[in-house]
Amino acid sequence: MEINFNSPFFKILRQIVFYLFLAALWQILFNLKFWPRYLFPSPGQVFETLIYGFRDKTFLIAIGISLKRLLIGYGISMVFGTTLGLLIGKIKFLDETVGGFLVGLQTLPSICWLPLAILWFGLNESAITFVVVMGSLFSITMATDSGVKNIQPIYLRAGLTMGATGMRLFTHVVLPAALPQVLIGLKQGWSFAWRSLMAGEILFVSMGLGHLLNVGRELNDMSQVIAVMIVMVMMGVFMELLVFGTAERRVRQIWGLERQ
């Protein structure tokens, strides 16, 4: 029987082997004792911390709190970002005024909003939501705007001749035609929101994953620091696989950019 090395089974096997190889490398480095144990824990120690953290629910609670903040902030960004982007893309006056202004604001790292947010809202949930919104809003807006501007004019002409004018042209042609670009903006917005949240949590706000990371530093508990970082990476990967990867693939298949 011929073995197909391209089958999904072998793909997963290759990935597992790769991660085992990374862990082995880590273990070897640990055994060589270049660094003191408290600065460079073994994979086993970190794994133990992970298990312990999930068992006594501190990780789960932190994940829950961070996710809640993220979803609120990102949700606001999503609604306002796409709306604003569509408006800027369609209305020339807004493009010239607000559009240019947003390009400037986008260059500002989102964490720079934190001092302002704390003075405005105090050290609370509103401040962190504000930072998350500011972190992700502009990239969603800009991507939506460019999505609208990059629509092939022939689609608009076709829509117009078939009687789609004004709002109906907008919902039936402009919106779906811009969707692939909007999706890219949403994905980018998500990662910006995530970064802003972590920066905010590390600096000021209690609870959440960023806070847990900072507690690890304060306790000189390197294995907790690494364990929390691993949790963050895993969450990013899951989000990519489950939500954005799936949505993007679906759109690419419909548009014929990727074979099913």
């Binding site: 078939m162 009687g163 039936h172 042609v173």
Partner: protein, 279 residues
């Protein structure tokens, strides 16, 4: 539905320069006529379509449809574009239903109409496919179905078969001829293919190189259904071809080097071809 163009001028900006696309265009199309507009590339044929469709407006002169000045797009005048312009995010069925949906036709009714139109262009097996799954010819069939389902009074076709291979093109031309005979719609068909123009139409308008003006009008009174090899058809084609060659040469001179000329065989050759052979 009658289409009348009166002293139409149209120019547009290209790379900062004002380019005159159409110059003093006058013609009228009677109801149920099949008209072909032929001319070298870049002579403003597509602009003509846009003007009648109401997507663009003349700088001066008027475009009348049924004695009313065209003020914008209308479902009575539908365009079939060269690139098909199907919406890639919709299935064939949804694409064909699009215009009816916009018009507010209820779902069962528009589905029935769409399926009927799709059947007319022989695409029933691809109802649920997305445009990228179709070949070039099938895309144009779908685009045609999308237009005829709206039952427009005028069909404006902007080089719809230009990007297709010879066999597919021939097949679609014959089907279009049949469709026109059945429905008796007014069709304005833009092409740069002389054979296509003579095969399909009642009258052919020849447009000059930029700025486009109507150079000649040819009446083609050969009964239908026509055959591709009809000797009468070939005779008309030769006449038009001869007249068109001058225009194509003008365009070549504009676009290529100024010293290009078209030889009698119709092949573009540079005058300095035998450069150095007499040394």
């Amino acid at each position: 539905m009658r289409v009348v163009l009166k002293r139409v001028h149209k120019s547009f900006k290209q790379k900062g320069q004002q380019v005159q696309a159409l110059h003093d265009i006058n013609f009228s199309v009677e109801e149920g006529e099949f008209i072909c507009v032929i001319g070298p590339s870049g002579c403003g044929k597509s602009t003509l379509i846009s003007l009648i469709a109401g997507l663009e407006f003349p700088d001066s002169g008027q475009v009348f449809v049924d004695d009313k000045i065209v003020e914008g797009p209308s479902k009575d005048r539908l365009v079939v574009f060269q690139e098909a312009a199907l919406f890639p995010w919709l299935t064939v069925l949804a694409n064909v239903e699009f215009g009816l949906k916009i018009a507010g036709v209820n779902q069962t009714q528009r589905r029935d109409c769409a399926l009927e139109a799709i059947k007319m262009v022989h695409l029933s097996r691809f109802v649920n496919s997305h445009p990228h799954e179709l070949s070039g010819g099938m895309k144009q069939r779908a685009a045609l179905a999308r237009a005829i389902v709206m039952d427009p009074k005028i069909l404006l076709m902007d080089e719809p078969f230009a990007a297709l291979d010879a066999q597919t093109r021939q097949m679609l031309q014959e089907e279009l001829q049949e469709l026109w005979q059945k429905t008796k719609k007014t069709i304005l068909f833009v092409t740069h293919n002389v054979r296509e123009a003579t095969f399909l139409s009642d009258r052919v308008f020849e447009i000059t190189a930029r700025p486009g003006t109507i150079k000649k009008e040819y009446l083609i009174s050969i009964p239908r259904p026509r055959r591709e090899q009809d000797p009468h058809l070939l005779a008309v084609q030769t006449t038009i071809m001869g007249s068109l060659k001058d225009e194509i040469e003008k365009v070549a001179k504009q676009e290529l080097d100024i010293d290009y000329e078209i030889s009698k065989t119709g092949v573009v050759t540079p005058v300095d071809r035998n450069l150095g052979s007499n040394i």
